[in-house]
């Protein structure tokens, strides 16, 4: 057998373990009181650990810890890294300072969104792109002609999101001196044992929160120290259901839920321009050429965008996920892509994709048709909806620096 073949043999773990586990899996497994797992990007992930309400409450009242390891992570380095990422994404990367993060998206030639994600500038020529979908194929193709190296780090770098009002206090307990001075979207590094934790003041909850990034080998020491530091500050492991409630309150969108990514849609009309999913604010028309620019700007100039993402407040308290939106209770106007009763805002909220002009010039007399399945029967409800500003929940502590101490 050649050398190459023996390397290939070593990569066969998927035969015995079809679903990968993150380095934090033993801790989640130990804390899980109820088997409620799902598969996220090929990894075993927790929907909840047994008590969604308590997990949500931890995120808004104390601190919740969510495993973001399955998020796809790409390291982009080299002399052309900034120029390449400026060509790839719609936002101006030249304005992204070292040790800062920005939220962005990237598009295909037709201006349709391929994915959204966070771009970390770790050095002048050193970036990390975190996103939902696999992008190695797209990134390496798009890098033609640029002097950049692209490395996938998904399986080597572990990540935890620590979110909630006591999160800063917990990091201070970890000995992360000065962490309270971190502004939103800022990055700092702290040593942990032999290695380094990269801390960014980022998250998916619209709350005070941080994301902690380490090499896989440091994952469990990080977890253990974090939980020790948080013991008196309500730290709690959380699953996706609790996080999902927070992100809906914050009106953050999820690819392949609130919009379909251009690289996955079978039906070409399902792809979306940034302007159709509420990401128009990211697009910088003044920066140098970026992929999809012409199509996006031309759609803006001609007003050809067909859809619009809106935040809705819905009468009553029945969550409207999946509901069809009607104009005058008759004409179909769109669909609710995510909806919950917001425990913190005490409102029935939803993200919806509407067909223009509904949601743009026609904003009155909109209704949601909700089918509530109760004990074997549908209650068919027609509820009035109101377009409201996003986010549904605006927390001062998300941006206050330094955060309140506990």
């Amino acid at each position: 057998m050649t050398m190459n073949a023996s390397v290939l043999k070593a990569l066969q773990t998927h035969i015995d373990q079809p679903i990968a586990e993150t380095p934090f899996e033993p801790r989640f497994d130990a804390l899980s009181r109820y088997p409620d797992w799902y598969v996220w990007a090929g990894y075993k992930a927790a929907h909840s650990l047994g008590d969604v309400e308590a997990e949500y409450t931890a995120l808004r009242n104390a601190a919740g810890v969510f495993d973001v390891t399955p998020m796809n992570k790409y390291r982009i380095t080299g002399a052309d890294a900034e120029r390449f990422l400026n060509y790839l994404t719609v936002r101006d990367v030249r304005k992204l300072a070292v040790d800062r993060v920005h939220y962005t998206c990237w598009c295909n030639d037709f201006g349709h969104v391929i994915d959204d994600g966070t771009l970390f500038r770790l050095g002048a020529d050193d970036f990390r792109l975190c996103c939902q979908d696999k992008q190695y194929d797209w990134l390496t193709d798009a890098a033609f002609g640029f002097e950049v190296a692209i490395e996938e780090e998904t399986h080597h770098v572990a990540g935890l999101a620590l979110q909630g009002p006591t999160s800063c206090r917990i990091l201070k307990n970890m000995g992360f001196i000065g962490v309270e001075q971190l502004k939103p979207f800022q990055i700092a590094r702290y040593s942990l044992g032999e290695g380094t934790v990269t801390v960014s003041r980022t998250g998916f909850t619209g709350d005070l929160g941080y994301e902690l990034w380490v090499e896989n080998g440091l994952a469990l020491p990080l977890w253990d120290q974090l939980f020790e530091a948080g013991a008196l500050h309500g730290i709690r492991a959380v699953g996706y259901q609790a996080l999902n409630q927070c992100r809906i309150e914050a009106a953050f969108i999820v690819p392949n839920a609130d919009f379909m990514t251009a690289s996955h849609v079978l039906r070409p009309d399902r792809a979306r321009l940034p302007d159709e999913i509420g990401l128009d604010w990211l697009v910088d028309p003044d920066k140098p050429n970026f992929n999809g620019k012409r199509a996006i700007l031309s759609a803006q100039a001609k007003g050809t965008a067909k859809h619009v993402l809106v935040g809705l407040e819905i009468e009553g308290n029945v969550p409207a996920e999946g509901a069809i939106i009607y104009h005058r209770q008759k004409r179909e106007a769109g669909i609710v892509t995510a909806g919950i009763w917001s425990p913190t805002a005490k409102r029935n909220i939803a993200l919806a994709s509407l067909d223009r002009p509904f949601g743009t010039t026609v904003t009155e007399d909109l209704w949601a048709e909700i089918y509530a399945l109760c004990e074997g029967r549908y209650h068919k409800l027609m509820k009035r909806v109101k377009i409201v500003p996003r986010p549904f929940l605006k927390l001062d502590r998300r941006t206050t620096t330094p955060p309140a101490d506990f």
């Binding site: 679903i19 990968a20 696999k134 194929d137 079978l266």
Partner: protein, 541 residues
């Protein structure tokens, strides 16, 4: 004694002939199926050639067979069950393999062993091929429009086609045209860098086709193998439980249950015509059977060059039939094994052997195999599509023993200009056995019985001209309104009352049943009968 006159005589009891027969009988016609063999099924049969074993000795896997037909004709009630593949693999010369897993993430990780980029590109590839499938699927169960006709229905069907094109952006339209005309090798190069992955995917582009992976038009052939489904899983393949004969058996049972008549061992020599109208058939023994119409399930060459007098047909039509490409390109080795073969390269407990296995690990080797065909030789290093259905199906061999089906390409209809001999046939079989044995130690010792079929056997025994499994190649020049002959793509022929319903017609070969169903729809339309028992084609949402 007055001769009985059937409402319709179906020449050939292949799966399409039986499908047509079923629909016509259900519509109230008195239908007779005449079949030259002592069994029905044509190329979809399960044959017991050695005690205890059933061979799917011609077609061997199932995906394309339309679920609408299974349902209309109540085939499950008559025993049809389709068992999806659980895996698959290409074994490589360096002792490794590329597996095909059904689960998305393990499959992605399997490809990532070779190339991370290819692992992700696979999703893009699958999306693009699926998009093409979604375009073509709604055309399967419709009669192709005749672009030269101004009948309202043809214009309506042309508009349907135009509308489907109209739904596409200029970019998608260009992609579609490229896809229909390019080679599978070029198409795969646009996505992948790994040889073995490309070789694995290219197989669907050449099966049953006398073209190599670098020949233009082979990308469309791939599509033809992806547009099937197993219970809604588009592109999936499976085994018919009890072998492919289970499909024909269920069709025959359904046909007989609705009152139809089957005569086996009845070889039609001629289609009788009177005043330019088909009125019956003459069997090899001289017996005449009368029918108000004749529907031929035989391929277009056999039908019009052998069963009908040339003087009854227009000259240009005959010319087109003679030039319809129906070149034999494959052979088949069916093997009874006394134990499960061992493939040391494959990991223990892997589901790989519960699907298709291959040994051709590069496009280059596949193209070389085709070079041999061009020189009218069987491939020295053939491409084998190897299945062991008994890994899943317990009904085809005694416990612990196995049936192995080896579809093999390339195999020319003639050997260096002369007819096949028994010696050639054995040497062809040896090229297959020795390739398998190179990856499976002790393989030869497990063989209990073997049936070898070259194009010679496929033509003589099944009736497929040149042994072409699709009754005509599935290249762009031979599909839709050009299949089999422009102006005669609607299951009718220049002879009134003579129809064709086999794979030579739209939408072509594979055990699909759609040609048979579409032919029945046209016949019923001519009879001004409404096809009540024919449900609408399933929606493509």
């Amino acid at each position: 004694m007055r001769l009985k006159t059937y409402d319709a005589i179906i020449v050939g009891g292949g799966h399409n002939g039986l499908v047509t027969a079923c629909y016509l009988q259900k519509a109230g016609l008195d239908v007779l199926v005449v079949e030259k063999n002592d069994w029905v099924g044509g190329a979809a049969v399960s044959r017991s050639l050695t005690p205890g074993f059933l061979y799917s000795n011609c077609s061997y896997v199932c995906s394309l067979f339309r679920p609408e037909i299974m349902r209309d004709l109540e085939l499950p009630k008559h025993g049809l069950q389709v068992l999806p593949y659980e895996g698959g693999a290409v074994l490589t010369r360096d002792g490794d393999y590329l597996a095909n897993y059904r689960e998305h993430y393990p499959h992605q990780r399997e490809i990532a062993r070779f190339s991370k980029k290819d692992a992700e590109a696979y999703d893009r590839y699958a999306r693009d091929v699926t998009r093409q499938c979604r375009f073509i699927q709604p055309l399967l169960m419709r009669t192709a429009p005749d672009p030269f006709s101004f009948k309202p229905r043809d214009i309506q069907e042309l508009l349907f086609l135009a509308r489907k094109f109209g739904e596409m952006s200029a970019h998608d339209l260009a992609q579609t045209i490229r896809f229909w005309t390019m080679s599978i090798s070029d198409f795969l190069d646009e996505y992948f860098e790994t040889d073995v992955l490309k070789a694995f995917l290219a197989i669907s582009g050449i099966i049953g086709t006398a073209l190599g992976p670098k020949s233009p038009g082979t990308a469309y052939v791939l599509l033809h193998h992806y547009m099937g489904e197993v219970d809604g899983s588009v592109g999936a393949w499976g085994f018919a439980r009890g072998g492919m004969g289970a499909i024909s058996k269920a069709l025959a049972a359904s046909f007989q249950a609705s009152g139809g008549t089957i005569r086996t061992g009845a070889d039609v020599q001629q289609v009788l015509t009177r005043q330019g109208r088909a009125c019956g058939v003459v069997l090899a023994n001289g017996e005449e059977i009368r029918g108000k119409m004749v529907v031929s399930n035989a391929d277009v060459k056999r039908t019009f060059l052998k069963l009908v007098a040339p003087s009854d047909l227009p000259d240009r039509f005959l010319n087109r039939v003679r030039n319809f490409k129906m070149r034999g390109s494959s052979g088949k080795v069916n093997i009874a094994l006394d134990s499960l073969p061992d493939f040391p390269a494959l990991p223990a407990n892997s589901p790989c052997t519960k699907g298709d296995l291959h040994f051709t690990d590069s496009i280059e080797r596949m193209e070389r195999a085709y070079d041999d065909w061009k020189a009218e030789r069987w491939s020295a290093d053939p491409m084998i599509d190897l299945m062991i259905p008994t890994r899943i199906d317990p009904t085809m061999a005694p416990p612990g023993k196995h049936f192995m089906s080896c579809f093999t390409q390339y195999c020319p209809p003639k050997v260096e200009g002369r007819d096949w001999t028994d010696q050639d046939r054995d040497a062809f079989a040896e090229s297959v056995i020795s390739q398998i044995a190179a990856y499976s130690p002790g393989f030869r010792d497990r063989i209990i019985h073997m049936e070898v079929r070259t194009p010679r056997e496929l033509e003589a025994e099944v009736g497929l001209t040149e042994g072409n499994i699709f009754q005509g190649e599935l290249t762009f020049d031979q599909i839709l309104f050009n299949r089999p002959v422009p102006g005669y793509a609607q299951y009718r022929s220049p002879i009134e009352g003579l129809y064709i319903c086999g794979s030579s017609t739209h939408p072509g070969g594979g055990v699909m049943g759609a040609p048979g169903r579409n032919a029945a729809a046209e016949i019923l339309r001519d009879l001004k009968l409404s096809p009540k028992e024919m449900s609408a084609a399933h929606d493509v949402l």
